[in-house]
């Protein structure tokens, strides 16, 4: 990190008591949001990134594999290289960062200001006041406790990301003979990584009848190394008291219940869990941000703004992404909107809560008491969720991306978009899978032209 960046400490001069925009999290989302807010005209010194870890870049630092940045930089980078591009931008702009610092609590006060309690080793506990907050805390892995696997609690059970940290950051191997439960991307990447480092990866078991990871990772991480993938299989028992000695794997039926008689014992000293990621929203929930049960992330509008005015969300805290390029793009969008919010002077006029979870505007905000018309974006048949979930026409850009995931594997179907009850878009899709985030673009002009538009619905229909 260069000299322009303040580490923890530096609080003595009260330089961070107030900021226009505080960004919680210095990973790819936080970095891109900060850079975009600054590029939009917010003075660098009035922006602050608060990062829990000891360095910027977040999870990218341990994702040493390649495949990042093709959309953004038109070249294939590794995680650390991708992070370095954004860290470089933030440093060049001179945006201050507090590292090794934890935001314990955020409060949205009636005066429109957001006040947060922050702590670190040098300053202890202190308060920072912000005009706008961008939530960019990322996500965490689903732990063993959430998976209901019986057995003792021996050493040798790790989440895939923890193992990735050991191998790639600490340079240590968690074990020699490995079974991986869950075929999410991190699990697949770790199957290859452990193999390259000399471990024997005996099996990847996936509960669902399809993989949760990207197709390319099945090819280059499993097929390349002859690692078997068993779909509709799960771990039903873990053997070993001090250290894992083996696991019992069984086939599951369509209700995901183990089928008696299909059990198979596999000896191993390590079990990696790659069973999904959960947005980390304790801070958001604590301040009253409405969450979407489908994503476990905030419900946002076209500006990536939550139900609390001046509180924005982006990246994996909003919904779990497959591609960091899309995180950066979404975060830059949030950063620009946060900048516009500050520049409009809206914070002083804003009420605390703008709308409720259903998307109706009760209190009104930036438009001097007028209620901006909101169009609801609804996920229907086959669509699990959409981001955003509502669009205010007056704040909409010329084009608005709607990102979504489907509930199941669909082959040869139509992705249909309705404006109220009218079909306006039909896209033929050869295959859609829950493991791959999808997106469509809506044109502002089309929305404006449609009289009385109050609901946009995305759904999957038969061809």
């Amino acid at each position: 990190m260069g000299d322009g960046i303040c580490r923890d400490g530096g609080m003595r001069g009260n330089m961070f008591e107030k900021a226009d925009i505080v960004i919680v999290g210095g990973g790819p989302a936080g970095l891109a949001a900060a850079a975009a807010a600054c590029a939009e005209g917010i003075e660098a010194g009035r922006i602050l990134i608060i990062e829990r870890g000891g360095e910027l870049g977040g999870i990218l630092n341990q994702c040493i594999h390649n495949g990042f940045g093709l959309h953004t930089f038109k070249e294939e980078l590794t995680g650390p290289e991708y992070a370095a591009r954004y860290i470089g931008q933030v440093e060049e702009m001179g945006i201050p960062c507090l590292i090794d610092s934890i935001v314990a609590d955020i409060r949205a006060d009636a005066d429109g200001k957001k006040r947060m309690t922050v702590m670190n080793r040098t300053e202890g506990l202190f308060e920072i006041e912000a005009g706008a907050v961008i939530l960019a805390m990322g996500c965490r892995e689903r732990p063993r406790g959430a998976l209901n696997i019986p057995g003792y609690r021996p050493a040798g059970i790790y989440s895939a990301g923890t193992a990735q940290h050991y191998v790639n950051i600490e340079g240590r191997m968690p074990g020699k003979e490995v079974v991986i439960l869950g075929s999410g991307d991190i699990g697949l990447i770790m199957a290859r990584r452990m193999t390259l480092e000399g471990a024997k990866v005996k099996l990847v078991a996936e509960l669902m009848p399809y993989s949760g990871g990207l197709k390319r990772n099945i090819v280059q991480c499993l097929d390349d190394y002859g690692i078997p993938l068993k779909l509709s299989h799960t771990v039903v028992d873990i053997d070993g008291k001090e250290r894992v000695r083996g696991v019992t794997v069984a086939k599951v039926d369509e209700n995901r219940r183990p089928v008696p008689g299909t059990e198979e014992y596999i000896s191993c000293d390590t079990l990696l869990l790659s069973c999904g990621l959960i947005p980390e929203n304790e801070l958001s929930a604590g301040m009253g941000v409405d969450l979407n049960p489908a994503t476990s992330g905030p419900i946002v509008n076209e500006s990536m703004e939550t139900n609390i005015t001046g509180v924005f969300a982006c990246g994996n805290v909003l919904h779990v992404h497959d591609l960091v390029d899309y995180v950066s793009e979404e975060a830059a969008n949030a950063g620009r909107h946060a900048a516009a919010y500050i520049q409009s002077g809206a914070e002083g006029k804003a009420g605390k809560v703008r709308g409720d979870a259903t998307g109706t505007d009760r209190i009104g905000s930036v438009e001097k008491g007028t209620i901006p018309r909101e169009i609801k974006v609804k996920a229907a048949n086959g669509i699990r969720y959409t981001v955003p979930s509502r669009i205010r026409l007056i704040h909409m850009q010329e084009e608005q991306l709607i990102r979504f995931r489907v509930k199941d594997i669909y082959k040869d179907v139509c992705l249909t978009v309705y404006f109220n009850d009218t079909v306006v878009m039909q896209l033929h899709k050869k295959i859609m899978a829950p493991g791959e985030m999808e997106q469509i673009k809506l044109k502002k002009r089309k929305l404006e032209e449609f009289e009385g538009l109050n609901e946009i619905t995305l759904c999957i229909e038969k061809r």
Partner: protein, 130 residues
């Protein structure tokens, strides 16, 4: 990978790994050595399909030990793809070396790995321990 005989050439179905989109490719190789790629949505995909049938290559990413660094290891990559058959050699060579901190992103940590003509470079900077 599934293979079936086409009318003229031999058809192979592949998933492109050059970017996360993962296009489904159909690669047809004709008796004369000519190769035709379908299903790709960019030039990289065509190159991948062609190479995967003739000379499959991969980029290798791993870590290398660092001496006197603030961190024990630094992440590295082969600057370009190397033949699939060379991956194991490449890993062995990289396990055997140690680099002295500071390391800068882009520094060559091992030149011409295993005679592939491809350099291995650092993908992160590691400061020297104070």
């Amino acid at each position: 990978m599934s293979e079936k005989k086409g009318v003229n050439g031999e058809r192979t179905e592949l998933t492109c790994i050059r970017c996360p989109i993962g296009c489904m490719l159909t690669v047809t190789s004709y008796p004369g050595g000519e190769v035709h790629v379908e299903g790709n949505t960019c030039a990289r995909g065509e190159e991948y399909g062609r190479k995967e049938l003739t000379n499959p290559t991969r980029i290798v990413t791993t870590i290398v030990k660092v001496r006197n660094g603030k961190r024990p290891v630094v992440s590295v990559k082969t600057k370009g793809d190397i033949p699939k058959g060379k991956i194991e050699d490449c890993m062995k060579l990289l396990k055997g070396i140690e680099v002295e901190a500071p390391v800068r992103l882009g520094d060559v940590v091992l030149a011409d790995v295993g005679g592939t003509g491809v350099d291995v470079t650092a993908t992160k900077s590691v400061e020297r321990k104070n």
